[in-house]
Symmetry: C2
Subunit: 544 residues, 2 copies
């Protein structure tokens, strides 16, 4: 009882980079020793076995390389991203093309599956219904991290028991950092299993000089852009609502920026710019209200405003407030009466000033929705409603002043979960499939501590270049609260980069002129222009 489109997608055949047509002739060349983006000394100390590994590039040899049978495991780690199933499909097809005796195990329900050695042997029959489909439900996922000595030991036991030549970890920055640590541990323990990471996250914040895009970003942005475009068209048709739309993306505003380039909303708030300008909630409110007043003067009492999920954490005064709240709440009973006035008395003046600007409903979200560690759940805060409340208040003030004479009717939306498990676009289907091929090639070459990498993504897929990048090369040390740890730093929106520049050039005209753009739903069939082009962000970054 699958849908006609699910069915049609089962027959899609992604075209991986041309080199993979002769996968058994691929020879791996290793370049020079590498370093890290910073903190090389500290990282060398932490990764004595693996730091400095060279970049691995692929070329075709005249004769076949060694195709001894391989056992490989694969795991999905963290939140869903469209295309995860195709990484597994590419890995499977590559392995079976190399040698039909190769075996692929799927670890079930994320890293827990490694710790418990809970696997399923992947066959074509098992895999077939998931080809080019969304979700992570083929083998499941989880957010468990392999951190404790016991977990490391259990992982060693699992890969040894399964006699794995390689383990492929599909995950974001955290999971790939974890992959690097597992590599180091395996090497120090004499375990021969290769560890290969695959860059996954819809947020687009796993991106650097080598990784042009994480998979899933393309599809998720397209799902959201369709909806934002539809709402913009609705706004301009009915001419009576101002829509405040919050988009997923907590640590970075890449999704919001891409959707803005796709749809041309009237106001777009980019978290990184807020942080750089040291803006307050009042500043952001003013910025929006200024545009709404100008629009009202032009007879336009409607509009579209985009906000990134993580906005609050980019506002410096909110960071102070949240830090103080976390401290206060840690020593406060959950059900004390008059909690709002109780915590207000305990706050410093800066935090209190910020707290007072927030409507009561949001104050309650801050105080009552706490995570298992007792911390404020920033992702649960309905920033779009917070802004509606502050904008409404400011407009009322300006109405009194006589500087606003329009109408304000707001609607709010949050788009998140509907983008994480959508049917992967042709781009993500093919990119993921190719990442799977690349991972297989790295494992066969015995390389460990590498991330599967594809470059030239703005070109057609047969022209893409596959390679392996040592994970430690992308790392530096994060220093926080007196301790430091190795991380792949999340890529934030580069305020001097081409993408933001392009946005900055246009946003003033988008504010008042209604130049909304309507991307429409993802298309899988038809002309190249409507089916295979990736994000505007990727296009801008790849432009020479």
């Amino acid at each position: 009882m699958i849908s006609p489109l699910q069915d049609a997608r089962l027959n899609y055949r992604p075209v991986p980079p041309a080199i993979f047509r002769n996968i058994n002739n691929i020879e791996v060349s290793l370049g020079e020793q590498t370093s890290a983006s910073s903190d090389s000394e500290a990282l060398r100390d932490l990764f004595p076995q693996t730091f400095g590994q060279p970049i691995a590039t692929f070329s075709l040899a005249e004769k076949q390389v060694d195709i001894h049978p391989l056992n490989v495991g694969v795991v999905l780690s963290g939140g869903q991203a469209p295309g995860g199933h195709n990484v597994i499909a590419g890995l499977f097809d590559a392995l079976k093309t190399m040698n039909p005796d190769n075996v692929l195990y799927g670890f079930l329900n994320g890293p827990d599956g490694i710790i418990k050695n809970n696997t399923i042997k992947i066959s074509e029959k098992f895999l077939a219904p998931y080809r080019n489909q969304g979700g992570f439900d083929m083998i499941g996922s989880s957010r468990t991290k392999i951190e404790s000595p016991e977990q490391f030991e259990a992982s060693k036991k699992a890969v040894t028991d399964l006699n794995l030549d390689g383990i492929v970890i599909i995950g974001g920055d955290d999971s790939n950092t974890n992959a690097a640590m597992l590599t180091e541990y395996f090497k120090s323990e004499g375990v021969a299993t290769s560890v290969v990471g695959v860059p996954k996250t819809i947020d687009g914040d796993l991106k650097n000089e080598y990784i042009e895009a994480s998979f899933g970003f393309d599809t998720a942005c397209k799902v959201y852009s369709e909806l934002v475009g539809n709402i913009a068209r609705d706004s301009m048709s009915a001419k009576k609502y101002t829509f405040f739309i919050r988009l997923m993306g907590r640590s970075a505003s890449h999704i919001t920026l891409e959707c803005a380039l796709q749809t041309h909303p009237n106001v777009t708030i980019i978290g990184e710019e807020i942080a750089e300008k040291n803006s307050t909630l009042a500043d952001i409110t003013s910025e929006i209200v200024d545009v709404l007043c100008r629009r009202a003067n032009a007879g336009k009492n409607y509009g579209v405003i985009l906000v990134p999920e993580g906005l609050i954490e980019f506002i410096p005064e909110f960071r102070t407030l949240i830090d103080e709240l976390n401290d206060i709440l840690a020593s406060t009973e959950d059900d004390i009466p008059n909690k709002i006035s109780y915590v207000s008395r305990k706050m410093g003046p800066k935090a209190l000033a910020c707290f007072k600007t927030i409507p009561e409903e949001i104050q309650k979200q801050l105080l009552f929705d706490r995570d298992p560690h007792g911390n404020v759940q920033v992702s649960r805060i309905e920033t779009e409603k917070l802004l509606i409340a502050t904008v409404k208040k400011e407009l009322a003030k300006r109405k009194k002043d006589g500087t606003f004479s329009g109408k304000f009717n707001a609607q709010s939306s949050f788009f998140g979960y509907e983008g994480r498990s959508g049917l992967p676009s042709n781009f993500d289907s093919t990119y993921c499939y190719s990442l799977g091929y690349t991972a297989a090639t790295l494992v066969r070459s015995g390389l460990s501590g590498y991330m599967s990498c594809i470059r030239n993504l703005a070109k057609s897929s047969s022209e893409w270049e596959a390679m392996g990048i040592p994970i430690t090369m992308m790392m530096d040390m994060e220093h926080r609260q007196g301790s430091s740890k190795p991380v792949i730093r999340k890529a934030l929106v580069d305020l001097k980069g081409r993408i933001f520049e392009s946005f900055k050039e246009s946003r003033n005209s988008w504010a008042i002129d209604d130049t909304y753009r309507y991307p429409g739903p993802i298309q899988f069939f038809g002309d190249n222009a409507v089916t295979n082009i990736s994000t505007i962000s990727l296009g801008l970054e790849s432009a020479q």
Copy 2:
């Protein structure tokens, strides 16, 4: 700067019913006198000039019919529905094919444009960018009704000044009722302008023996089904959230029912069934909690629950509560202190019992979000959050009883505005285009008080049958609060019909087995199966 898909859609050529290939040879045959679905006597009194008009069918004559030049006006009335622009495109192309001298005027910003005689003359150049595109922004829309004697007179003046042979009103049940009244008025005043209605509403509640579907329902359901399917896949991948999704559709639950058939959620609440069973909020909560408990026993702490926007109005105890609240609030200052306890003291025991089951946040929505007439704004109530609150409470109780030992993490969504102005599907593009052709033919034949009608919609579009149905035939009288008025009654979900039967047969297995279905985004290009099939509802109703 339009998107590649907007551009590609401009080139789509809808294929209208075969008869329109020879539009100038179409002869109209009139059948027998008609009646109304009920209250014929009263309706005959109200519509002395127009009641009982015959059904108009089309056939091909040997020679061309009279093609004297025509002036026609068109207006968009009420909320957006995908395809509105194509009704205008079909009307325009039909008129220009009949006679290049024919003129089409668009009334601007809905019925206000008629009252103010505010028009634009539609040319191919003006129309071209809107072909097969979403939204109503080409000429705008509004919810104004032509009701007062002054408004009727202004309408007469406008159509007389413009020398209109016909006026085409694109709207829902209310707007078509209005069209019937305008027809009657024009006839009684000796105005020769034909009035023709076109059935529009995404809600699907303008449907009867003659009208198989209102336009926009197909696209809107497909937009929502994509999102519900994506969320279901996400739910099954992460296995940790229960999603409560509210879908647009206030007076009837057709959208929710269609989306359920498309995606197979674990629980679907259909308003009409709630009303028939006389269910309380506690009953609905129990129904959901029972399923969640059975799922938890099967190790499934996740799921998807669909709720229609208008649910609250289908719950009898809420109707009582809302009616009483409207009365109480009418005589209450908006800013009295302790409003909740104040109104609680004024309520009857039944309303109070219901009010007490509601979480405070929703109580406040009931008390503070009021429309310009001071009434509770039912559509603003976040029913999905209300249910999350009541379900949470009930699960906590069952946890104490020992009958629930699972986990419950809820997420909520509302999908509405993103479906009203989406790019119309091939079905809606073609259906609307054909409705425009039909309207042009009815106007040319001098028929007034008819609705443009297309039948056999489950077949391919060239086999569709175009005709005109007298609007009074679909009407009856609504008796409310001592007064009665003519209406086209909204079609509710037929609890004995095939669509609901099909849902009922499957919902038990959907509840526990994860048989989610993922429709994916609307496709415009490719195989017939993924591009041209309309809703499951239409298919079921058309099946012999």
